[in-house]
């Protein structure tokens, strides 16, 4: 059974990867859709990072775009000033975001849940204010424009040029799938199971020998690092860093992506990113009327889909199946 489930999971994963890589082939005639999809991938990475905390460990962080911002600005500053090429720059961004995650995590993770939520909110706001005001480093409110795209990558059998939209899509898709694999591997590891234990009952997990604080700190730092990676990728794609991308509303938006998509599910954050990044981008939701309707839709969702859209879909499928098996059961007594 376990092997069959593993094979099933693996094949779903491979199918998912194939779909992600082949999407632009189908949509090759629409550069706009390609743009929206690439941006979605850039946001899905911090969303998966937050999902590790929010969905799997039960820690609500309202400041996670701040860590994405650290990754973004580190990558941007290194690339813009020609200090480092793409790969070392984005890795540096990832590491710095992770280190800041450790620094923030050590004091904050000792707090009880509601205190923790508000403190992460405060951390996010502090980071935003730093991005906005450290003019000599971050360009202040005007941001950092004109960041160079990564150069061509030679794979031997093909050359990917991220300076072209399709090339960047493949780069983003590769990083996205890597993070997806990391997310998957973490969740099904012993470490991930310990996180689940902490989410369900911290005291019980602690008394069963789980180092609660150590686990929380590790996952918080890891999550901050992955968010930083996503931020670095996003800033490379948009070729500009702006403090508003990491403000209060963006922080809430990331939490929404995860919760509405379905916290605690592998595909939830990606679904949420599609919904919150690609859809508004394509529908131009910025229109005031539509924003009112969008708000109403969120409210309805909160009331009627308490486990997010992915949860709704899963329970819907289960219901259908349950219905189906009940029928067959009745048919063959």
């Amino acid at each position: 059974m376990a092997i069959r489930a593993g094979v099933a999971r693996l094949s779903i994963g491979v199918m998912f990867a194939v779909v992600v890589y082949l999407l632009p082939v189908v949509l090759v005639h629409s550069p706009y859709v390609l743009f929206a999809l690439t941006l979605t991938l850039c946001y899905a990475i911090p969303a998966m990072a937050l999902n590790l905390l929010l969905g799997y460990t039960g820690l609500v962080s309202l400041g996670h775009m701040g860590f994405a911002g650290i990754g973004a600005y580190v990558t941007a500053v290194l690339m813009k000033n020609g200090i480092a090429p793409f790969a070392p720059a984005i890795i540096a961004g990832t590491i710095v975001a992770g280190l800041v995650g450790v620094l923030v995590g050590i004091p904050c993770l000792r707090l009880r849940s509601h205190f923790f939520i508000i403190v992460t909110l405060a951390v996010g706001l502090i980071l935003y204010l730093l991005f906005n005001n450290l003019d000599w480093l971050t360009g202040g409110a005007a941001g950092l424009p004109g960041i160079p795209r990564p150069g061509p990558i030679n794979l031997g059998f093909a050359i990917i040029d991220p300076r072209r939209p399709l090339g960047f899509y493949f780069l983003a898709a590769t990083i996205f799938l890597l993070v997806f694999i990391v997310q998957y591997a973490l969740i099904y590891s012993d470490f991930g199971r310990s996180l689940a234990a902490i989410r369900q009952d911290e005291t019980l997990a602690g008394s069963r020998g789980v180092d609660v604080f150590g686990h929380k700190l590790t996952i918080f730092a890891l999550s901050a690092a992955i968010a930083g990676l996503g931020g670095g990728l996003q800033v490379e794609f948009l070729r500009a860093a702006a403090p508003q991308s990491y403000g209060f509303l963006e922080n809430i938006n990331l939490v929404l992506i995860v919760i509405v998509g379905g916290a605690g599910s592998l595909f939830g954050p990606t679904l949420g990113a599609l919904l919150f990044i690609a859809l508004p981008e394509m529908l131009r939701v910025a229109d005031t009327y539509r924003m009112v309707l969008f708000g109403a839709a969120l409210l309805a969702l909160a009331l009627f889909a308490p486990r997010g859209l992915w949860g709704l879909a899963v329970s819907g499928v289960r219901k259908l199946r349950g219905h189906h098996s009940a029928l067959t059961h009745a048919g063959h007594p």
């Binding site: 009880r112 509601h114 508000i118 204010l129 938006n253 909160a302």
Partner: protein, 294 residues
């Protein structure tokens, strides 16, 4: 640093005024959190709604500012009851979905305000803003003192209500132990509605009081909400005296800090202070230490 005493006193006065506004927001947040364990992120919207509703009453319905303020509080209290019934009662145990619902409310309200009142900010000119009071070299509008005085009255009224009335006692009982309160015959659902009504009325009061001093615009509640949240965490999450002292402290500290560091970093001082204090006292200034706190 040539900080004169006059400048210092001026900033303390400004800070006390802003602090009073933060206290009004924080009191609503702390009541709702204390009784229902709900963090109402839509509280900033209620605050802004206070400003708008007050403008409507004052300009279009009745020419008297005090009556307009009272009507605003009543309107938003009723709205609070509806909000509790329709939304937050169902989400009491689901913290993440409270955030989603709050953001839905924020988006609806902020964009609806643009649709109804237009994209530009409203100005609410009441008599108490135009008349100045001079104290030595300093001058303040009467509205400054109105804000502080009304806030003090509101705090006192709330305290009397909670301590000396049957309903207030029932509210405190529910916040201490909802189960036990139900056992002795307190209708918890009614208490939740009362809590939301009171909280919303206080936030609306804040918006109606600050409206004449600054402008009325859809996002006017964002910063008071963040400061209010900071205040209740600082005060210990559930402590009413903590929220009051936290609110005033934040107002005064951020105002005085502008004398020493650039104004751009004013908000950062407050948030950094919150983290610093929680490092020393993880349960807040007036909170109760629970088992498991470091």
């Amino acid at each position: 640093m040539g900080v004169t005493l006059t400048a210092f006193i001026e900033q303390v006065a400004n800070g006390t005024m802003m602090g009073a506004i933060y206290v009004l927001v924080a009191l609503g947040l702390v009541l709702i959190f204390g009784v229902m364990e709900v963090l109402n992120f839509a509280h900033g919207v209620i605050f802004a709604a206070g400003g708008y509703v007050c403008e409507v009453f004052f300009v279009h319905v009745i020419g008297s500012y005090p009556i307009a303020v009272v009507l605003t509080m009543l309107t938003l209290a009723i709205f609070g009851v509806a909000l509790e019934r329709a939304v937050f009662r169902r989400l009491r145990v689901n913290m993440p979905m409270q955030i989603v619902a709050s953001l839905g409310l924020i988006l609806m309200a902020e964009n609806a305000a643009v649709l109804i009142f237009g994209p530009s900010a409203l100005q609410l000119t009441v008599p108490s803003v135009r008349s100045l009071v001079r104290i030595g070299d300093l001058s303040f509008t009467i509205q400054h003192f109105v804000v502080i005085a009304v806030c003090v009255v509101a705090i006192a009224a709330l305290q009397i209500f909670l301590q000396y009335t049957r309903l207030g006692t029932a509210l405190r009982a529910t916040s201490q132990n909802a189960e036990a309160a139900r056992v002795i015959g307190i209708d918890a659902d009614r208490i939740y509605q009362l809590t939301f009504a009171t909280g919303c009325a206080l936030a609306a009061l804040g918006g109606a009081l600050i409206g004449p001093l600054f402008l009325i615009f859809p996002q006017m509640g964002d910063l008071p909400l963040l400061k209010g949240l900071t205040a209740i965490v600082l005060g210990g999450m559930g402590s009413i005296p903590g929220a009051i002292i936290g609110g005033f402290a934040i107002g005064i500290i951020e105002a005085v800090s502008t004398l020493f560091i650039p104004t751009d970093y004013r908000d950062m001082v407050v948030f950094a202070l919150l983290i610093a204090i929680l490092l020393v006292r993880p349960w807040g200034l007036f909170g109760v230490r629970v088992r498991g706190d470091v």
